[in-house]
C-alpha cells in the first residue's frame, strides 16, 4: 500500500508580476518504507511540492489530491492537519536559519516531544537528549543546553534531523538537507540520513544527484514544475532517458561539469510544448508544439519519462 499518493497536484502563487505556476499536474506515489529522491534545479518546484504535502505553503492555491494513508490531506481541517505534522509526517529543512536563534536547541526538540503527549518537562528534555545522541551528537546533554549560533553547520543539520525524528514519524520530507555543507560533512549527513530512515518512508528533495543515489530507492526528476522522469535509482543512473536528466549527469564534476545551456525558465511564463525544448540539445519539430505525456519506457518497465524522442525510438 502506498503511504503517499499525489494526483494531479497543481500549486500556483498569485503575484503582482503574474501567476507563478510552481507545480503543474504532478502524479507521484510513495510506497510504505520507500525512499524517493526528488531532483531538480533551484526553481523547479520540488520544494513547493514537498511543502504542499504538509500544507505549509502560504499564499498558494493548491489543487488536486494528496492522500496520506488513505486520508485526503487537502480536505482535512487545520486542526486535523496539525496533528499529522511532526508526529506522522515531519520535515527536515536545510539548516542555517531553520532553528530558532533565541531558544536552546534541546528545548526546541523537547517542544516537539511534548506535543505528542509527553507532558513532563524533564522527561521531554531527556528524550530530546536521546534524540540528539541518536543522530551521533557527542556530549548531547551539554549541547542540548546551547543555542543554535554555537553549533557548526553540520551540527545544526544533525539537530534538524534529530528534530525531524523526535516524534518517530512514518513519513519524512527532507528539504535539501545537505545544501551549503562542506563535502566531508555532507557525506556524513547523507550517511546519517540513510541510517536513520531505514524503516521510514522518505521524500528526499535535493539537487545533489550523488546524495540521492546513496539514499534513495527511486528517483524522480523535476523540471519546470512537472516530473520529467521517474524510475529506480539504478535504472536512472544506468539509463537516463530524458535529455534533462542526461544534462544533469553531464553537469556532475566527475562527468566533466558541462552545464546545461540556457537558464531555467520563469515559472510565470512557461515554454509551450515540451518545457525543456528551448534548452534541449536535440529538439524535434513536435517538441515546440505538443506537450509530451509522462509514459512508461518500452525498454524498462516502471521507468517513466516525458519525451517524444524516446517514445518514438
Amino acid at each position: 500500500m502506498s503511504i503517499l499518493a499525489i494526483n494531479d497536484l497543481k500549486v500556483q502563487f498569485p503575484t503582482p508580476e503574474g501567476l507563478v505556476k510552481a507545480v503543474n499536474s504532478v502524479d507521484l506515489e510513495l510506497e510504505e518504507g520507500e525512499r524517493l529522491g526528488m531532483i531538480g534545479e533551484t526553481g523547479s518546484g520540488k520544494t513547493v511540492l514537498g511543502l504542499a504535502v504538509v500544507r505549509l505553503l502560504s499564499g498558494a492555491e493548491v489543487e488536486g489530491n494528496i492522500e496520506y494513508r488513505g486520508k485526503k490531506l487537502l480536505l482535512l481541517d487545520e486542526a486535523e492537519m496539525r496533528k499529522l505534522r511532526g508526529r506522522e509526517i515531519s520535515v527536515i529543512f536545510q539548516s542555517p536559519n531553520s532553528l530558532n536563534p533565541v531558544l536552546k536547541v534541546g528545548d526546541q526538540i523537547a517542544e516537539s516531544i511534548r506535543l505528542v503527549g509527553c507532558s513532563n518537562r524533564q522527561d521531554a528534555k531527556k528524550k530530546a537528549v536521546q534524540a540528539m545522541e541518536a543522530v551521533g551528537m557527542p556530549d548531547a546533554e551539554l549541547w542540548a543546553d546551547r543555542y543554535p549560533h554555537q553549533f557548526s553547520g553540520g551540527m545544526k543539520e544533525r539537530a534538524m534531523i534529530a528534530l525531524g525524528l523526535a516524534c518517530d514519524p512514518r513519513l519524512i520530507i527532507a528539504d535539501e538537507p545537505t545544501k551549503g555543507l562542506d563535502a566531508n560533512i555532507k557525506a556524513q549527513v547523507v550517511e546519517l540520513i540513510r541510517d536513520v530512515t531505514t524503516d521510514k518512508s522518505l521524500l528526499f528533495i535535493t539537487h545533489d544527484l550523488s546524495a540521492a543515489a546513496q539514499i534513495c530507492d527511486r528517483i524522480a526528476v523535476m523540471y519546470c514544475g512537472e516530473i520529467v522522469e521517474v524510475g529506480r535509482t539504478e535504472e536512472i543512473f544506468a539509463n537516463p532517458l530524458h535529455p534533462y536528466t542526461e544534462g544533469l549527469f553531464r553537469s556532475l564534476p566527475i562527468m566533466g561539469m558541462k552545464a546545461i545551456r540556457g537558464a531555467s525558465p520563469s515559472l510565470i511564463d512557461i515554454p509551450s510544448g515540451c518545457r525543456f525544448h528551448p534548452r534541449c540539445d536535440r529538439p524535434c519539430e513536435n517538441c515546440a508544439k505538443a506537450h509530451p505525456p509522462l509514459v512508461e519506457a518500452e525498454s524498462s518497465p516502471g521507468h517513466l519519462m516525458r519525451c517524444f524522442q524516446h517514445d518514438r525510438g
Binding site: 505534522r85 529543512f93 530558532n100 533565541v102 531558544l103 516537539s112
Partner: protein, 325 residues
Amino acid sequence: MKAEYLMRRAFYSFLAFMVSLTLTFVLLHLMPGDYLHSILPYLAEKNPDAARMFREQFGLNRSISEQYLLYVVNVVRGNWGYSFLYGLPVLAVIEEKLRWTLVILFPSTVLSILIGMAVGAYSGWRNGSKTDLSVLNFMIFVGAVPSYWWAMLLILIFGFHLNLFPLGGYASIEALDVGVRISDVLRHAALPVTALTISSVPGTYYLMRNSTLQTTGEEYVLTARSKGLREMEILRHHALKNAMLPMVTVIALELAQMIMGSVFVETIFSWPGLGLLTFEALRVRDLPLLQGIFLMDTLMVIFANIAADLSYPLIDPRVKVGENV
C-alpha cells in the same frame, strides 16, 4: 557585542551629557544680563560693593574657561544653580518633583509597553487580516490625537461629567487633616497614567507590529509549523522573543517621547512632577530651572539607554556582554 561596544556606548553617554552641560553653560552666558542681574535686578545699581561680593562668590568675575570648569565641577557635585522661581537650589527642586513624575511615568511606561507589544504582536502575526487592519487603523487614529487632547478628553469625561475621578492634583483636600493616603494618590494618578499610556501605546504597537511581521517569513517559524504547533503557540514561543529583540533599544528612545507627553499631561492634571515644573518654569521664563530639568531628562534617557544595552544580552543569547560573538 563586546566589552568594547559597551565602552563606546558609555563614552557616547558621557559625551552626550557633556554636550548638554556645554549647551546649558553657553546659554546661561549668552543670556541677556548676567546671572546676578536675573536674580537681583537692581543690586548692581544700588549697591556695587554687594554686587562685587556676589560676583566673586559665584565666580562671575573669572575667565570664561575657568567659569566653564567651575560650572562642570559644580554640576557634578550637585550644584545645579538657583531657580528664579523658587529661590532654591535647582537640584533640590527637581529631586522632589522627579519622584512624583516617576509615580506616573513608571506605571504608564510599563503599561504601554505591555499593551503595545501584546496588541502589536497579534496584529503583526495576523498581518493583512481584518482584525489587523482595523487595529492598525484604530492605532493610527489614537496616535494622531495629541497627548494633551487625550488628557483633556479624559478630564472632561471621567472627571467633569461622570465625576469618577478627581480633576487634578495628587491628593484630596482632606489630606491636610489625615495626611496623604496611598489610595487617594492612586485615584489621582489614574487619569494621568491613562492619558500617558494611551498616547504612547500606538508608537510601541506600530514598531512591534512591524517587528513581528518580519518574523512571519523566518525559516524557524516554518520549522515550528512543521512540528504541528498551533499558530498562537508559535507566536508566543517562537516569534515573540525574536520580535522583541529590536524593541529593547527602541523603548529607551521612547522614554524621551514619554517625557514630552508628561509635560502636557502633568500640566493639565496639575500633577506636581517635573512636567508641571517645566510648565511653571516656562511661564516665568526660569531658564536655570529649565536647564536643570533638561539635564535631568538627559540623565534619564542616558540611564534608559544603558539599561537597554545591559538587558539586551538577557533576551538575545547571541549577544554576551564582554564576549566575542
